[in-house]
Symmetry: C2
């Protein structure tokens, strides 16, 4: 029984053991205040003091709950993140299991591009913490495990982990936003490029379905 290695490798945020009621209330208040502020201005310009003040709590409370700025931003993305992971692990094809690995990989990238399209600035804010932090975080580990598994399933015979890093590199929000804004590439164009990239990399593999 395979196909479940990725499932076991889904760490994300473990629910804290018995959080006190007032703490839970504060966490929710903070999140909604942050969400509102980020909605009004760009995520980059909202300060932690503003959020604390607007939520009516002390600054220490913010950091106690979320560790640092990136942690808070990540928490804002968390719900969407969970549903994304849910979808590509257990959801319907072609994103979820059922479709050939190559198609799942294409769908994965397309979904990620949509995600960036919608949450771009927030994603960037969540990712630029300490150097390498992004890569060490469990979210990256989950993506990497998933892509690695797909590459293996598709019959790729090289270093699947390395290729996963490369492919995920093409989906880094900072880069995608650069391509969209600075290079003025359209979403459709990016989708097409991603599709071609995957196609080319997996061109001569068995691909678990033998197409092409």
């Amino acid at each position: 029984m395979r196909g479940n290695a990725a499932l076991a490798a889904l760490p994300m945020l473990e629910p804290v053991r018995h959080e006190r009621a007032d703490a839970a209330r504060n966490r929710a208040t903070i999140l909604s205040a942050a969400e509102r502020l980020v909605g009004e201005r760009s995520a980059q310009t909202v300060t932690m003091d503003e959020i604390a003040c607007s939520a009516g709590v002390g600054k220490g409370t913010l950091f106690r709950h979320f560790g640092d700025r990136c942690g808070l931003m990540r928490a804002l993305l968390d719900e969407r993140e969970r549903s994304f992971q849910e979808d590509f692990i257990r959801g319907p094809a072609p994103l979820g299991p059922g479709a050939p690995a190559r198609e799942r990989l294409v769908a994965f990238g397309e979904r990620m591009l949509e995600h960036i399209e919608i949450q771009g600035d927030l994603l960037v804010a969540a990712e630029n913490g300490a150097p390498g932090e992004r890569l060490r975080h469990s979210v990256y580990a989950a993506y990497r495990a998933h892509v690695t598994a797909l590459l293996r399933d598709s019959g790729y015979d090289g270093d699947v982990g390395y290729l996963a890093d490369v492919l995920l590199g093409a989906l880094v929000s900072e880069l995608v936003l650069f391509q969209r804004r600075e290079l003025a590439m359209s979403p459709e164009n990016l989708r097409a490029c991603w599709g071609e990239l995957v196609g080319r990399l997996l061109a001569d593999t068995a691909s678990g379905k033998g197409l092409r």
Copy 2:
């Protein structure tokens, strides 16, 4: 006079028009102080105040000369950077012109990996500025232009700019250090993976030389 788009696209640091003598002296002092400090501790932990103090100049002078922290780090890398660019634009094959495009691309990546091996922390410090700054900087533009040209020369018929972004993504210092340190990949392994990546991407192209 054309014939070398990549050559024309080499901006880097333009020599300032008539820098005052004391200013030049201070710049040198600052650079050597910074170099010493960065050599002693990790580049991440050295503060601007320390550098200023150690160089015996005011903090304002630092920022006047280098703009911001990243600028100073970049300046520390500048000499090596110039020689790298010189090498792949005009130097001997396979890095410079003369070899088939695909080989030049492989050599480019290998050289970059060596660069990261030696200057890793400094490169990271130089790159994590404001989001997207790295991509907007002229150094990235130069790399991108070079790789793009090589891909075109190798007969790749897709979106060469996009593929250049992807390939450069595999050479981002933050990622490479992650692979080296966290994933414990060896330099040789990384070289091999890079070579295979390039080979696979350019497998069925004319490659300007018709190998394979």
